[in-house]
Amino acid sequence: MFERSLAIAKKETRELMRDPVYLGLSFLVPVCIMLLFGYGLTMDVKHLPIAFVDHDRTAISRDYIDRYVHSEYFDLIAVTSEQGDATHLLKTGRARVIVDIPSGFARSVMGEEPVSLGVTVDGSFPTRGQVTYGYVMVINGLYSQELLTQFIQRQGINPDAILPVSMELSVWYNPSLESKNFIVPGIMVIILMLFPALLGALLIVREREAGTIFNLFASPARRWEILFGKAVPYSLVTFLEYLILFTMSVWLFDVRFIGSFWVLSVGALLYSFCTIGIGLLVSVLTRSQLAAMLVTFLITVTPAFNYSGFLAPVASQDAVGQFAASLVPATYFMDIVRGCYLKGLGLEHYAGSLLALAAYTAVLYILAWLALRKRVG
């Protein structure tokens, strides 16, 4: 019964082997992306260029400036007394923050009076803006607290009483808060969504463009046998790719991995069939290789990147976003990957995601089976 599928699988394997450039690229590109993200991506916002407009020009205002400059978060670009210079720096992006110290700053500080100063943060890159905002709040807050503490001490009050409520923060799963621990496994999920789908996207449409699809139409192979024969070798290639990426993540990048390799691999195998299935379905529905490639690219990368929980928790998305997330198979695999790498949960935690992946895959192949017609025209 599987003979015909096997024959098609053999033919597909041979075809894959005979385009070594393509086969090589489909392994090389993911590995390169992994290297790039693993080694190069620092999401940490540091060395932000900062400029000061110092109208005060006293030892105290310089001390205030030093609070920023002596942190690794800011790099001093300029201290001027001209508003225009600073505005120009912000406009051209050479400075991301401008702190405007008013004249009389030192007098107010010495005279134990409150003083306010203006800070302008470049908000054109919002994440960076948010982080910058936080840094300024913290550095200014510490300075302010020092003034307040000194004042209170002089009034004869115990400064320990300043904070009647304190917070104890503990960090789970990734206690050292290293970004590689989420970026490297996350990018593996994205890569395994895109590249297998691109491989699968060619399977039918290439034969259609070359005209060899008629050989398949005329053959005794049934529709499901054709799909199966095409999907299996490519899914196994994908699984191999997963093994390479997994090895890189653990050995090369030293990503924390505390869960079960077997659970992860079962998930990866399902995911391989699923993403090849996405490509295969696109391949059945499109009429040109270009269209197949474009559609596959569009339905895999952007949704997986934005909605799978790669950068933001799925739970923080709104209803539309959560619905979008539920349509992306990467969401389910991401859940398994995060669990296996960082959380080390029991098998029962993965059941839902594994089941969802299996159901998703089944639906994809059924749709492809329905859409594939062994007819001309």
């Binding site: 790039l36 205030y64 912000l90 904070l163 789970w172 808060l177 928790p313």
Partner: protein
């Protein structure tokens, strides 16, 4: 003479493009739906960060504290009543932060030494760090308010105490609306990818169908052939960018466009020309569309990666800062944000324009040179 040849070829390319109705549909989706999806998603910013609360104290102070965990940063997803439930919420990723308030919170607040516990899911380390900062700030403000109440200071009196009040103004994007940034970024990325892929495909298709030989024996020169392949792409990509810019970025997300659209589009012509040249350079090397796509991704990912959209250029390692100089996308993104978003003019953006010209010219020359070598 040259114009007649070019005209004929460009006409043929346009005809081929417009007859491919599925591709037109796909491009429409790419420049509307995909850009909407990208802008709509939450990315690395803290917005509606999911919090689960386990309040053992159930007093007025604890309720006051919990009520401060509010939008836009936090969203309380549920109240639970056991440690096991807290763990389940964090394990399942249903919450990224757990706030646990001990039973003695109420009276210890009055004694001045209350504590509460926060468990943070550190998986997404960047957002976890930002969220930790925000909740620390909430705790501090809460603490201060309690103190003020205890010593009987009104907030007006408090404001007269010595302190530095930093009035932070966010320029260009007051509320740090992420959609403004991400939707525009996606448009610039999409323009790059589509320009390179469409051109590469138009060229590789001639190879696959064997019609390239016909073009070779025609009087068309290589540079003319290349220009003819690029022009329709430039026109299409710019038209679709207009759709994206006014239909989605401005139309849906209401992003302010402060600069000169004319300047943006004049430079975009050059940029898209450069990106299309990249597609040609690839098409010379690739034998089929599959290979071309892979090669393109091999180049595009590092390009997007080095563009400064993921990591601000100033935070990159030095070798990356230098490497980013050869990524045309880096100049284009910087240019796009400066013009559309900051409202800058030629005086500020000329270095980016020079960068785009130089990188584009190098790519186009490389493609023509390789093509001559291969098909002499």
């Amino acid at each position: 003479m040259m114009w007649r040849r070019l005209n004929a070829m460009i006409g043929k390319e346009f005809l081929q493009l417009f007859r491919d109705v599925p591709i037109l549909f796909i491009l429409t989706w790419a420049f509307t739906g995909i850009i909407y999806l990208t802008g709509h998603a939450i990315s690395m910013e803290i917005r509606d960060y999911p919090v689960v609360v386990y309040d053992l104290s159930q007093g007025s102070h604890s309720r006051e504290l919990v009520s401060r965990l509010q939008k836009p940063y936090f969203k309380v997803v549920d109240y639970v009543y056991s440690d096991a439930e807290v763990t389940a919420f964090l394990d399942g990723g249903k919450a990224s932060l757990a706030v646990i308030i001990p039973p003695d919170f109420e009276h210890r607040v009055n004694e001045g030494n209350a504590r509460f516990q926060v468990i943070s899911d550190g998986t997404l380390s960047v957002t976890a760090t930002i969220a930790g900062g925000h909740i620390a700030e909430i705790a501090n403000t809460f603490s201060r308010d309690i103190l003020l109440k205890q010593v009987g200071l009104t907030s007006a009196e408090f404001e007269r105490l010595p302190q530095v009040d930093a009035r932070i103004r966010i320029a260009y994007n007051e509320n740090l609306t992420h959609a403004w940034f991400s939707s525009m970024l996606e448009m610039l990325n999409m323009a790059t990818m589509v320009a390179a892929l469409l051109t590469a495909a138009a060229m590789v298709r001639e190879k696959e169908y064997g019609t390239l030989e016909q073009l070779m024996v025609s009087p068309l020169r290589p540079a003319e052939l290349f220009v003819a392949k690029i022009v329709p792409t430039v026109v299409m990509v710019l038209l679709f960018s207009l759709l994206a810019l006014f239909g989605v970025i401005k139309g849906v997300f209401d992003t302010p466009i402060r600069g000169s659209i004319l300047l943006f589009y004049s430079v975009s012509v050059v940029y898209v020309f450069a990106a299309a040249s990249l597609g040609l350079a690839i098409a010379v090397l690739a034998r089929n569309i599959a290979q071309a796509t892979m090669m393109l991704l091999l180049i595009l990912f590092p390009m997007m990666f080095l563009s400064g959209a993921f990591t601000p250029p100033e935070s990159m390692a030095p070798w990356m800062q230098y490497a980013s100089l050869i990524s045309p996308l880096r100049y284009y993104i910087d240019f796009g944000y400066q013009v559309l978003f900051k409202g800058n003019g030629l005086a500020e953006v000329w270095p980016d324009i020079v960068g785009i010209f130089v990188v584009g010219a190098v790519m186009f020359s490389f493609a023509v040179w390789r093509f001559r070598q291969v098909y002499k």
